[in-house]
Symmetry: C2
Subunit: 365 residues, 2 copies
DNA sequence: TTTAATTCCGATAACCTTGCCGGGAACGTT
DNA sequence: AACGTTCCCGGCAAGGTTATCGGAATTAAA
């Protein structure tokens, strides 16, 4: 009763609660049916404009639904239909690149009427498992996945497949699991960066890569090696360094690298954050960039354009990758076809800045 | 039947499908009950270790549940209990600060057994409404909210309250809605930044603020004015500039500002991204920082420490704010108390860097 | 021997919605 | 008059789980 003083069960505050219109319990089709003296089935059909219900009845039902502020209970429908219109997104963190990708996913999902549950594993294998299980029994309709750098065992991902949930991998993918994939052409990215350095006259090029089980890192390294081979530069194994995927480690690794007798004259890092770390070490050594040493990062984050000197980097179109991943997910969800052997591969683009431009632009033409 | 060749309905691929153990449909308590010749009620109680079921029966039930790989259907439970263990998080974007806050929210939520649905409105009022409604009928248990800069009408937020869903505002809050709040002490932040500039000898200080309806912007401005008043510096209204919350606009505004006859000798921007924009304009004018002009940003994003000169900024402890918001949300959810007039206010901390340090450190002591 | 307490379990309703089936009424066709 | 159609609606089951109630069987107390 609107405006009536009353005490609701579960209210232990001791205070009486005033029921107002807005506070009343959510109405259901049952309420509408009761008020109109018809059955719930008819109400349900009327609301969905079924052909077999009189126009007059429809009007009455819809009017009352409006008045009651009726909204269907999605949980009940989800339970019945066995789908929740929810996509689980598992990502290792929320740095610039991933956040941009999530933005892309979000955009497409929203458009298609899906809601996204984002869980970040914080690069931790354990949390990735917890998150996966949590989403799995929250009954998401499927997953868009990017593995953490710590993950080496994939049982939790196989579990998704065992439950026949659609699954798309993006960005940091693992090939041991057969799924549709949306990713950058990382070999090409590494190749472009390295080739650029060679063309600028650098001869002793080092690479700062990530953990050894990280696919994207290995692929970029592959491109790096390919470029060296093509230009007949011998691979120096001391110049291939694996370190953790962050600024601090890159800084330390670079410091060490610059202290060796035969130090490199250029460094390619597989992320911009690592490039920043390298830059700090280079500045500390008072080396001139790009003359004494060249530097190329990866991701083309805005920060690369703000530091001095600005850092060359490889644009990876994160937003596009996110959108493509979501689109591919929806395709998997709605089509009967098996897309699990298909990859969507985005081409990267080298962006040259001060940190690696020895030859002025005018001298090239 | 495991291993049996069969055709499942809805399989239009033309190929027969091999049923394996892993692919079988999810078992329910009904299946367990049937297999054991007991009722579902007993299975349900046994699984939850109720006192009124024989130890022997419990053991049998649990063993079979294990073997069947049983997992309760959360949807059914949610429908029954009217709670989903899901928190809706509405944010205007996923930049560094918000992403860090989301990380904090995520951390606490995960710990407490809640899953987070993050929706970014992209600073758009319309999308904020869509997202709110979407989450509202996805039946999240409540909301942790940060309004977009475009939002001036709050009906969609009131709708949350009308449905009696717990609601906590954080960071970008609006006072027109009475809810528990977790936020930075923005007045104090603006005050600290401005006071610091004054102490460094700057006399003509301008502020680059955000849109006029943005609470955090206005509060930081209030602190700015308070510091000026305290030091008997007259407010120059040409030095208080509202512009959009991004780098480009800040750049343009600063350019204009520096071209006036009586240009300021210091600029306080209410975000680091705006500080970057200002810095670019300053560099373009070939003015020396900090000698000709001082600059202080807000948020203390990592980039402030990477550019040259490094930019002073106000640390806002985003991760802590996120954690506090989630904790407060859980309190609201679980306690009967009305916390809607309570604010949790985090103190900011001024971080001095090159862009505003005219007086060397040694000269102070 | 009757009464009371204890131990264990099943039936039923409830949460909310949809889909299938069937059935009554009105109409038209042979 | 008998049959087939069309139109409109209600009943029931299903989706998976839990809470409440009551009842049967066993043991303990009077």
């Amino acid at each position: 009763m609107p405006g009536t003083l009353s005490v609701i069960p579960g209210n232990y505050s001791g205070l009486p609660v005033i029921f107002t219109e807005a506070m009343e319990k959510q109405k259901t089709i049952k309420d509408i049916a009761q008020a109109l003296g018809i059955s719930t089935s008819t109400v349900s059909r009327a609301l969905r404009d079924a052909w077999d219900v009189k126009a007059e009845t429809k009007k009455a039902v819809k009017a009352l639904a409006e008045k009651f502020n009726y909204e269907p209970n999605r949980l009940a429908i989800s339970l019945l239909k066995r789908q929740t219109h929810t996509i689980g997104v598992i990502i290792p963190n929320l740095d610039y690149v991933l956040a941009t990708m999530v933005k892309g996913i979000d955009e497409v999902a929203l458009e298609a009427g899906y809601t996204v549950m984002v869980c970040q594993s914080d690069e931790s294998y354990g949390r990735e498992i917890v998150n996966t299980n949590r989403l799995l029994d929250s009954l998401v309709d499927g997953f868009i996945f990017s593995v953490s750098s710590e993950t080496k065992v994939y049982e939790h991902i196989k579990k998704i497949q065992a439950k026949k949930k659609p699954l798309v991998q993006f960005d940091r993918v693992v090939n041991a699991i057969k799924t549709p994939i949306v990713r950058l052409d990382n070999i090409e990215g590494g190749y472009q960066a390295t080739k650029h350095l060679i063309e600028q006259g650098y001869k002793k090029i080092a690479i700062l890569a990530g953990p050894e089980n990280l696919n994207i890192s290995n692929k970029r390294m592959e491109g790096f090696e390919k470029a060296l081979r093509e230009h007949d530069i011998k691979l120096n194994k001391h110049f291939s360094i694996h370190c953790d995927f962050n600024q601090q480690y890159a800084y330390e690794a670079t410091r060490e690298l610059l202290n060796t007798r035969n130090r490199p004259d250029a460094i390619f890092t597989i992320s911009d954050r690592m490039a920043i770390g390298a830059m700090l070490a280079i500045k500390e050594k008072k080396l001139n960039m790009p003359m004494d040493i060249g530097l190329v990062g990866f991701n083309n984050e805005p920060v690369t354009n703000l530091v001095t000197p600005s850092i060359s980097s490889v644009e990876m179109f994160a937003f596009e990758i996110g959108k493509a991943a979501a689109k591919r997910f929806l395709e998997v969800l709605h089509s009967e076809e098996d897309l699990s052997d298909q990859e969507i591969v985005i081409k990267p683009k080298m962006v040259v800045r001060e940190s690696s431009r020895r030859i002025p632009l005018k001298d090239i033409s």
